[in-house]
Symmetry: C2
DNA sequence: AGAGGTTACGGGCAGCGTAAGGATC
DNA sequence: GATCCTTACGCTGCCCGTAACCTCT
């Protein structure tokens, strides 16, 4: 009789179209996956996966593909796995929910309310282990779509059809500088801004692209943008008086309080950035959805709506 | 993570309200059941079954009873088990359906079309083992309601709310006798019948009760009924000329063909008996239902509608 | 005292990981 | 030859069965 573990293995092989990838996803070895699939096929007396290259599959298809029977099984497997997670929470309560949830977080969130989120998540789901990866949004997005993350707090919705998004929080950006930095009179004009080094997110990211477009003129000089993937580094450079930074004030609330940074008023209003909690839809997504909802609460409580 | 085996064990404990009975039902030992339930309760961090006597339960309640959480789990368990059996047949086809089905059969059926049924069932579900018990209807009914049979071919529908019934076949009863037996002129009158030993089903069964009522008069003698739980014995006694039997002619088709028995016309028409395929409703009932349907087909093909 | 559930302990086997073997590009 | 799945094999750990124990009526 097929058990849930076999169905879970089968599900991930079909989902990821690879035995190896499924093995990694499930923290096991590739032969173990092979064996389970073989056992399933033998128990059901049916071939479930068409292996490898173009032996049978049409040219475009990469990796293993489910057969017609495999697709049927996939549907059942998904339903049963979903039912199991639903059951565990319905009967045992949040405390019974276990396992590892891989969470990707954009650095901006780390500097605002991530700690509070982790704390509340642990209080609610004490048996869940959070594996946290901090990275830039585009890397998080890539990890999300290839299922190496279960949930991510990143910039903007992820358009992928099997990724769900929940609006999390929006941060106005503002110009910030060290009080030691000599600046033109405020509000700083656009042309004056063009003379200053502007320290902000990396060039290829959405807010920087918008900022650059707003600053750039046909005739004047190009803005001097210093991009950094590390928000901490941006803050460090700003504290050191290297230039004016464009960041969410919320990230440097403490520095402003201390007086080591100050908000610089300017003619130009920098763009806003908005974050979502995003997870890939699937039978195991119940926990991710719950934590996404929790994140919305935490972000709201923190005042970053 | 709870697996399907644990849910199956839990289901049967809850259903049968006993660890021991569940152990028997699942062909395992009682400690194994204890352990699985304990593991389940520990995994979910919740008490699922209220053990034993009147410690907590009100006086009337016998055996173990599910707690509120247990009832919730029971619902999920039922859905998941049902989904599994549905999945196995949908993906693997009938050949993938395995296990043991305990079938109870009334003797009348044995003497007509049981062999054909077994043959066709085996052809359709080669991996299924049929455990067949032949017994009288009322014993079969009792076994059915306490779940020691999965399916039974017996007389009349079983009124229990969680037993499903499918009409199988109806047999007219007739008077049969050895040609050597000296009989009154035909059609035999009711009063003449009262003088003869009538060999038939046991006293407490439906057809005999009806027959007895039809024969009995307020003033005349009581009918001389020879009841036997064994149909083969009834036939044997009839062949030996002990009396007239009331049985379905279909059962003695061969003897009539050979001339060792003959149908006796009488003033009185004996009752009809009707059979149903009956099974207890539950998550594992898919196979029973299929076999019940097959039995209807076989009975119809055999001409006993 | 007997029925029924729990605890304790030993053994068998499923399933995992390591390592070597094939197939396909 | 590189990549990916399969086969072979030894081992661990889970789960089952036996048996002794406990607790209620």
């Amino acid at each position: 009789m097929p058990d849930l573990r076999s169905l879970e293995v089968f599900f991930w092989v079909a989902q990821l179209r690879s035995f190896r990838a499924a093995a990694e996803r499930l923290n096991t070895t590739q032969p173990a996956v092979s064996q389970r699939i073989a056992a399933l096929e033998s128990e059901l007396g049916v071939r479930l996966l068409e292996r490898a290259g173009r032996a049978v599959a049409p040219a475009g298809a990469k990796g293993v593909l489910p057969t017609a029977q495999g697709r049927r099984l996939l549907d059942y497997a998904e339903r049963m796995l979903r039912l199991r997670t639903e059951m565990i929470e319905a009967v045992g309560g949040p405390g019974a929910v276990g396992g590892v949830l891989r969470l990707g977080v954009a650095e901006t969130i780390v500097h605002t309310w991530l700690a509070r989120f982790v704390e509340r998540a642990h209080a609610l789901y004490p048996a869940v282990t959070l594996d946290i990866d901090v990275d830039v949004t585009h890397a998080l997005r890539a990890s999300l779509v290839n299922h190496s993350l279960d949930l991510a707090f990143l910039m903007g919705p992820v358009p992928d059809p099997d990724v769900a998004n929940l609006a999390l929080c929006r941060y106005p950006l503002a110009f910030a500088a060290s009080p030691r930095l000599v600046l033109p009179p405020e509000p700083v004009s656009r042309s004056a801004l063009l003379t200053l080094p502007i320290i902000t997110y990396p060039r290829s990211t959405a807010p920087t692209i918008q900022l650059s477009a707003a600053l750039r003129t046909t005739d004047g000089p190009a803005p001097r943008l210093f991009g950094s993937a590390s928000l901490a580094t941006i803050v460090r450079m700003t504290l050191d008086g290297i230039g004016v930074s464009v960041i969410p004030p919320a990230v440097v609330a403490r520095e402003i309080e201390e007086g080591s940074l100050r908000i610089v008023r300017a003619e130009l209003t920098p763009p806003e950035i908005s974050f979502t909690a995003s997870w890939s839809i699937g039978p195991g997504d119940a926990l991710a959805r719950r934590l996404a909802e929790l994140a919305v609460t935490v972000a709201t409580d923190a005042g970053h709506r």
